[in-house]
């Protein structure tokens, strides 16, 4: 029995479940329609706006940090304690509250039901709760800025004992609120995540097999499974650290002499937290990366007017990367003082992951081969993603290879690496995706000129920030240093480079404001998009109305006849064949959408 349907199999199985969402409950009042809304599309937009809002705060924090690094001793208002609080909050906000929430809560909510031909998520109510708990988590996080002592400055990794001792800023209320906020985030995310997974597994439309799903869904699905299985480790770590902090239990705390005073802790293991953290933390990298992988595959395919090359390989690569990422976590801990033989195991598993990842890169570029490439904004961001991702992935091979990690760990090389690979690269995909799906969400296009400005400044700017930063890492410049002060080994020119990076950071930051402006004004002033402006094949563009209404599709759900990448089919009337176009119409049908989607027109 074949595991996969061949990409263009035309027949569809009979229905096992007749439109399971036929009894979808439609909201009646304004409050339930727009505020406490159970429609995944509205929840998606709520998630996205909240994530982008808190992300803006993360961005501003990065400016302040860069000012201190570029021009030490100029800005006297930035004290060491503040600096550490800023890096901590910047890291945490960007990784968890922006990227995780945006990819899964935002794009996941919006695209999963639409791309699968479902009317909504399977449990809209739980899905709605998910957003509100997430919002609560964000509010608690923001609240930590206002408690005495300020937010925690323990670094986003929150390593104990340091995180809860008084030598670290924010060890009073800040760290507790951080841990509470993380726990809330996990609870909220689990509610949403269960929805995403079950919707993908159980609520697809007729003909939509797993091997016909767009890669976007594969990426988001695998990432969500990750999140459901990896967040528990962080949750447990957070609970134990809260107990250590509040009740003076000794899970992570050995005997400690703090500033000459012996504390009451005894016998705990600080490394345990690091293991728990990275058992979550490494899959977290893929929670951010896999949706980006999936989305970028679709962006490249749609705008290159060609199918994704090696679709099956791409799917299996996502699944294998996903599975392996649960046994590579300690490559973040090579110099943590853990059991030395772990180094061999984790270096091997880590470098094995490079193989499927590299294959994905090859397949993206091979998608461009003999294609018909339209250099639209989503395409540009897709191309930029490949470059940044390859660059960042390559430096990952340095850090994953245990012995090389010894001199490089905790230097700016690491900072440059992860910003390139899980900061810039996924963010470029986020931008590309927003330019791509904004017309679906609002019915209008984003402004092209502003978009081009935004693209070039963001891509080239961030590239010239992070590329040289690796080389500072080679010198041995440590990360998380408030200022370098006097050293014997860092040349003067390194400081000039730092100043340069700071200036570029501010310019890139400005471009993001232009993007926000574009996002807001195009809502009213953008060019009308009409249905399926990119001539894409996947189901989200085949809805009766653009933007789609509650229930997504018309009276009947679409029926899927083929994979999502039927571009350039030789015997078709046009260069794309929507997934739900009946086989007999392929040779004749011309138009952006399949007629009769809802049996009404």
């Amino acid at each position: 029995m074949a595991i996969v349907d061949s990409p263009v199999v035309q027949d569809i199985p009979a229905a096992e479940v007749p439109d399971p969402n036929e009894d979808l409950y439609h909201a009646k009042s304004w409050v339930t329609k727009y505020l406490f809304c159970q429609d995944a599309k509205v929840i998606a937009i709520q998630y996205s706006c909240t994530a982008l809002g808190i992300g803006l705060l993360g961005l501003v924090l990065s400016w302040v940090m860069r000012l201190q690094l570029g021009f030490p001793e100029v800005f006297s208002f930035i004290e060491p304690a503040h600096y550490y609080q800023f890096i901590t909050m910047h890291g945490m906000i960007m990784v968890i509250y922006l990227l995780t929430a945006l990819f899964l809560g935002g794009f996941g909510n919006y695209l999963i039901p639409l791309m699968l031909g479902a009317r909504d998520m399977v449990f809209p109510y739980v899905n709605m709760l998910s957003y509100w708990v997430y919002l609560l988590a964000v509010l608690v996080l923001i609240a930590s800025f206002f408690v005495p002592g300020g937010p925690t400055g323990a670094g986003w990794t929150l390593y104990p004992p340091q995180a809860i001792l008084s030598g670290t800023p924010g060890s009073d209320g800040g760290i507790i609120l951080m841990l509470v906020s993380l726990s809330l985030f996990i609870v909220g995310f689990t509610m949403g995540g269960l929805n995403y997974v079950v919707t993908v597994l159980q609520a697809r439309t007729r003909g939509m097999t797993l091997m016909r799903m767009p890669l976007t869904i594969w990426g988001i699905f695998t990432a969500t499974v990750h999140a459901l299985l990896a967040f528990p480790a962080l949750f447990v770590g957070a609970i134990m650290m809260t107990l250590d902090r509040l009740l003076e239990t000794s899970f992570f705390m050995p005997v400690i002499s703090e500033m000459g005073e012996i504390l009451s802790y005894e016998g705990g293991s600080p490394l345990l937290f690091q293991h728990l953290f990275w058992f979550f933390g490494h899959p977290e990298v893929y929670i951010v990366a896999l949706p980006a992988f999936g989305i970028v595959s679709d962006l490249l395919s749609v705008h290159a007017r060609r199918h994704v090359f090696g679709y099956r390989m791409m799917v299996w690569a996502i699944v294998i990367i996903g599975a392996l990422s649960f046994i590579v976590w300690a490559h973040h801990m090579y110099v943590s003082g853990m059991n030395p033989w772990f180094g061999f195991f984790f270096a091997t598993t880590t470098l094995i992951i490079a193989v499927p990842t590299a294959l994905k890169v090859y397949n993206w570029t091979l998608t461009l081969w003999r294609a018909n490439i339209r250099l639209t904004l989503p395409m540009l961001f897709g191309l930029a993603f490949i470059i940044t991702f390859v660059n960042g992935g390559i430096t990952g091979l340095f850090l994953g290879n245990v012995a090389i990690d010894v001199p490089l760990s905790d230097t700016l090389f690491v900072v440059a690496h992860f910003h390139m690979v899980m900061g810039i690269a996924p963010i470029l995909v986020v931008f590309g995706a927003i330019y791509h799906w904004y017309p679906l969400m609002t019915g209008r296009m984003l402004d092209e000129g502003l978009g081009k400005f935004h693209f070039w400044v963001t891509f080239l700017g961030s590239y010239i920030i992070y590329l040289p930063m690796h080389y500072l890492g080679f010198i041995g410049v440590p990360r998380r240093y408030f200022e370098m002060g006097e050293t014997t080994f860092i040349p003067e020119s390194a400081q000039d480079l730092n100043a340069f990076m700071t200036i570029v950071t501010l310019i890139v930051g400005f471009a993001q404001l232009v993007f926000l402006y574009n996002l807001i004004t195009s809502r009213k002033n953008g060019v009308e998009a009409g249905p399926n402006p990119w001539k894409a094949t996947s189901l989200e563009w085949q809805t009766a109305k653009t933007p789609p209404e509650h229930g997504n599709f018309g009276k009947t759900l679409p029926v899927v006849y083929r994979w999502a990448y039927a571009y350039g089919l030789p015997n078709a009337a046009q260069d794309f064949v929507p997934q739900n176009l009946p086989p007999e119409l392929v040779a004749t049908h011309v138009g952006n959408q399949v007629p009769d989607t809802d049996g009404e027109s």
Binding site: D23, G268, V560
Partner: protein, 236 residues
């Protein structure tokens, strides 16, 4: 397969069936309603939570150089003069297993649309669950009277108390939530909301008897976790 399933397809079983199911359309878990699929995946996630709790407990217990307290003696209870080791825990185990048994009956009668019996067994299950939590509260009280605190105890490694309160506390929390839901669902069954598919007040979703099975999965899971806690914490 019933005729009410339009176009039902015969599917192969075994490993071949896994491949057939996963490569089919509409759904990967055939004959599994959404709620049940969601509960299973939630339980998987919860397994990771309890797994992490237990392995953290294992790690701290193995890495501390202070001897671990004599667990079996600490949980001994004097019944008629002689202290019997772990007797309370044994009784708690039996209570929880019994509740699992009554739960499975409730699920069964639910699918038979026997409203009265379903309610009866749900309530009995809830009572057993509440009894379990009550005994746990008693156990906590006794331990605290003996001087065991989350931050230390007179018998040995400090991590004993911290792990104990954390793990049993988290488990007890699960049981308590389960009891609440048992009562809630029992009320719904009693009012016949699953017979005429009334929409939920909050969720606006139709009520169905499969909800009893979904709740049953949760309840058995709580029992299952206790099996592991019993083995690794009390007996080890």
């Amino acid at each position: 397969m019933s005729e009410s399933t339009p176009g039902a397809i015969m599917r192969p079983d075994g490993v071949e069936g896994v491949i057939a199911d996963w490569s089919s359309d509409q759904r990967a878990f055939k004959k599994v309603p959404w709620g049940k699929a969601m509960m299973w995946i939630f339980l998987l996630s919860d397994t990771f939570i309890f797994g992490c709790f237990l392995l953290s407990y294992m790690t701290v217990r193995m890495s501390t150089t202070v001897p671990w307290p004599p667990v079996s003696d600490i949980f001994a209870l004097s019944l008629g003069g002689e202290p019997i080791p772990l007797i309370l825990i044994a009784i708690m185990t039996f209570v929880l297993i019994t509740s699992s048994g009554t739960m499975v009956l409730a699920v069964n009668y639910g699918y038979r649309r026997d409203r009265a019996k379903t309610v009866l067994y749900l309530i009995i299950t809830a009572i057993f669950g509440a009894t379990f939590v009550g005994m746990q509260a008693f156990e906590w009280t006794k331990l605290i009277m003996d001087g065991v605190r989350p931050w230390g105890n007179p018998f040995g490694a400090a991590q004993f108390g911290s792990s104990f309160f954390m793990i049993t506390g988290f488990h007890g929390f699960h049981v308590s939530v389960g009891v609440l839901f048992l009562i809630l669902i029992a009320r719904k069954v009693w009012k016949g909301e699953f017979d005429n598919e009334t929409r939920g007040f909050f969720t606006s979703q139709k009520g169905r008897y499969e909800i009893v099975e979904t709740l049953g999965l949760y309840w058995h899971f709580v029992d299952l976790v206790w099996v592991f806690i019993f083995a690794f914490f009390y007996l080890w």
